[in-house]
């Protein structure tokens, strides 16, 4: 099998289209200028593309072996953020390395997929059905989720929690356990809320956390302006670099979380459907790759990356469309922001790697065959 043929070019093409759309929107968000975002975004995207394509040719057995260590390393970095992290947007999320700012919680989204895939690969179907085998992965999800919530970063915590949960589901954890866990969580929330176990100020904090609309000049303003941008875009939009909401700065965070509002304003519903189709196809392809692989590890990684991308995609869009509270989830490869892009492209690199190694069988100890 030649090196070129072993790459899934459909996925690469989708990624490139999405990245180019990202550059184009950021160019417009700056009022038709390469600075300050579009150029950087393009460079980062190019770097990400190289990393992604390099990842394709890494030995899968090696990936399998380093997966748990990567998880531990990333957990340590999140802990490090706790102590020496940089603060921005009211939360402590970043680690500064020279001029680089890295958000470890973002990278954790992929690392946790790696770890859970590694863990579940070692279990038989019987074992997956036993509760005691679920203790380690539950802790593996809970630890980073808890740390990220403390930053506070509800969005990333949600992605981690939902992503982990999806991996449990894909790994074959029995469905009744999900039902039970769901019921348990609802019950717990009910008890905590109903019997005022939390202090009043904590309850208030949660309330504003969940419903930022109560603060019309804060997050409420964001969401209102985003809806105006979307709605006024109509079917075909106002035209490239013609968005008034974006160019007159009514739209907040127009280069990061609300980058799709710019898209929706200038290209209308047709533009939005194009981006959504591309993104959904990418997610779909990850699942297609997953079902075509022999090793459980490969299957769980490809589908896990797909689910993670979908959570990004869904939460970001739902946020922009004012269906969920503003929780600060970017849309990787389109939103400006290096770590989220790197996370997504590392994940896609892994998917491509799994595609290349779709015929490889891995023993439960990690020996390739």
């Amino acid at each position: 099998m030649g090196a070129l043929k072993s790459v899934n070019w459909t996925i690469v093409l989708l990624v490139m289209l999405i990245g180019m759309i990202g550059v184009a929107i950021l160019y417009s968000a700056a009022g038709g200028s390469w600075g300050p975002w579009a150029q950087n975004h393009g460079i980062r995207f190019g770097a990400g593309l190289i990393i992604m394509l390099t990842l394709v040719f890494v030995n899968i057995a090696w990936v399998y072996r380093v997966a748990p260590f990567l998880y531990i390393a990333m957990l340590c970095m999140i802990l490090l953020v706790e102590f020496i992290g940089l603060t921005g947007s009211g939360a402590q999320r970043w680690l500064g390395v020279g001029s680089l700012r890295i958000q470890p919680s973002e990278l954790m989204k992929i690392t946790i997929v790696l770890f859970l895939a590694w863990y579940f690969h070692r279990l038989s179907h019987e074992e997956v059905g036993r509760i005691r085998y679920l203790i380690v992965p539950l802790i593996a999800i809970a630890l980073p989720t808890f740390l990220v919530l403390r930053q506070p970063d509800l969005g990333t915590a949600t992605v981690l929690f939902l992503g982990g949960g999806a991996l449990f589901f894909l790994a074959g954890v029995r469905i009744w356990k999900f039902v039970l866990a769901g019921a348990g969580m609802v019950g717990a929330v009910f008890v905590v809320w109903q019997f005022h176990i939390l202090a009043p100020y904590q309850e208030n904090r949660i309330r504003t956390f969940l419903d930022p609309d109560t603060d019309p000049l804060g997050s409420g303003y964001h969401i209102t302006q985003s809806k105006i941008a979307l709605g006024s875009g109509g079917l075909t939009g106002k035209g490239y670099i013609q968005g008034t909401q974006s160019n007159l700065n009514f739209l907040p965070e127009k280069h990061t979380d609300f980058v799709l509002s710019v898209m929706a304003e200038e290209f209308g519903m047709l533009g939005m459907l194009t981006v959504m189709t591309l993104y959904f196809l990418l997610i779909f392809m990850a699942f297609v790759v997953a079902t075509g692989t022999r090793a459980t590890f490969a299957r769980l990684i490809a589908s896990g990356v797909g689910v993670t991308l979908f959570i990004y995609f869904f939460v970001n869009l739902a946020m922009v469309m004012s269906l969920v509270p503003v929780v600060g989830i970017p849309l990787p490869m389109i939103s400006y922001g290096g770590t989220a892009m790197l996370t997504a492209m590392l994940g896609i690199g892994l998917v491509l790697n799994m595609y290349r190694n779709r015929g490889v069988w891995l023993s439960r100890t990690g020996a390739a065959e």
Binding site: S232, N247, L273, V307, M321
Partner: protein, 642 residues
Amino acid sequence: MYADEFTQESVFSRRAVMLLGAQGLLTAGLVGRLYYLQILERDRYQLLADQNRLNVHLIPPTRGRIFDRNGEPIAVNRQSYRALIIPEQSKYIVATLEKLAQHVTLPDDVLDRIAEQRRRTRQSFVPIEVVSNLSWIEVSRIEVNALNLPGVIIDAGQRRIYPAKESTAHVIGYVGGVDSTQIKQNKLFALPGFKVGKSGVEEQLDDVLRGSGGTSRVEVNSAGRIIKEVNRRPAEPGVNVWSSLDNNLSHFIYEKLKRHRRASAVVMNVHSGEVLAMVSVPSYDPNQFASGIDEATWKKLTTDPDHPLTNKAITGQYPPGSTFKIAVLAAALEEGISPKTEIVCRGAINYSDRRYHCWKRGGHGRIDATGAIRESCDVWFYRIGEQLGINKIAEYAKRFGLGTKPDIPLPNVKPGLIPTKDWKRANYDEIWYNGETLISAIGQGYCLATPLQLAMMTARIASDGMAIKPSLFRSNKTTVPSSPLFQPFFPSLGLSTAALRVIQQGMWEVVNTPKGTAFGAQSWHEEWKFAGKTGTSQVRSISEEERREGVLSNKDIAWARRDHAVFVGYAPYHDPQYAVSVLIEHSAEGSGGAARFARDVFDYIRTDVHPQILKSTGETAAAPPAEDGAPTMAFLATSSVS
């Protein structure tokens, strides 16, 4: 291969499909939401987006100008310039202002004002006023040094100018800043520096003169900075008003009256009611208000005991004195008393235990109606008044416009007072004593009239009994009764011609016969002989006002005890055109002086006013010179401004 791997694979495939399906459903939900926002709700959000980005700015209209009857300016607008500073374009505001101070004088509080403004708005692109009312030379000095004055800009506005100054101040009034209580009445009022009429015609016709504001829709960014103008609806300038006043005549009268401490005069056309001049002294310069009056000047104007801000021609109520005898005589003749009725005047009469004096100690002897007017015999009018009764006198006085508020668009127009029995009961809760009728019959006692009302009464006599009303607006109809185009302006009062002739004859004899009380004042121009009636109003009733004003010095008391001199008259006698009333408070020269004043006014009219009127009357009057696309000149006909 492990034994259970097939199970694992099939479980995975099933769950992958389930998950993908769920994701598809959620995505479909997003598409639905998108459809709702972008297709169904599109118009609403389009509107909201426009409201976000578009700001409407008001453009102030140009205030309508006021011209005199010959098209000379009375109130016009002149470009005025002010210097503003844009904070964001001037790094070091204080340094820039120091440099600016080398070229123009800056107000002392400029730094405080800028600091205050900076506190109020964080938008550093909003200009702040530094200094206003710059001269053209100052403007050019700033423009030349523009490079050294970063952020300083010149803004051109308009400023009201009153070229006629004091002589028309009381009629035209002035403009000033909007009261804080009125700001909500009109969007324009909230504009910084917007001026509204504060007095006179400027106040009464403010709605007409103001015009309506234009709008400029501008696109702004979220910080409020203007990006570009989207569209503009120009302001509609206010209507220009063509007043009936004659600037030159007003000036002439003002210069003559100025010699007196307090006085006022009115000149009216006896057919159209057009007021050609209405002057009150002391006066003030309305330009002081237009450029922002300082506190000291304002205080001086408002506390001056001679009330320079008051228009005495319409607000001053004085006992009409003997000029009232015109109305009493009209009542007598209309009520069937013969003009031949002769009464012997011995200088005084006794009436119910009191003695009523004639002004002439020795008496007038035997005298008839015409003579009683000519010589102003008080006894004749005591007797006639006694016969008529106060209610009849009041009835005719009101026909001449006395005792009711004249219909003229000016503020603080006073009605005067003509007493009746009912009036006294209502106001004093006392019956009317017949002795009071006698006093009223010579225009003293309770009787009060304004100089405008006296001019109206005179015009009504001169026009052979037409119900002349005063107008401040130029008429475009002819005022010359001999012209074939002449049409009466007002209905008749219903007085008999015989009675009017007797009164007119009496008034003629006042000025033109040796026994007349104003004989010395007669005119020697045959065509411009005038008729009139002198009057003296006793200060007793007025002095109440004096007392309220506090202690007067000895010199003032001497002045304050003098009677007011009144004269009303009309000319030319054989073709009446103009009525004059003049009232000089505490005049040293008496009513003869007032009559001579009237003669000088008629003389001036003969040489400088009447020829103009003859030239323009009857033809479609030429509009005053239009500048900068001024709107159509409005003729405010007498009837439309009531």
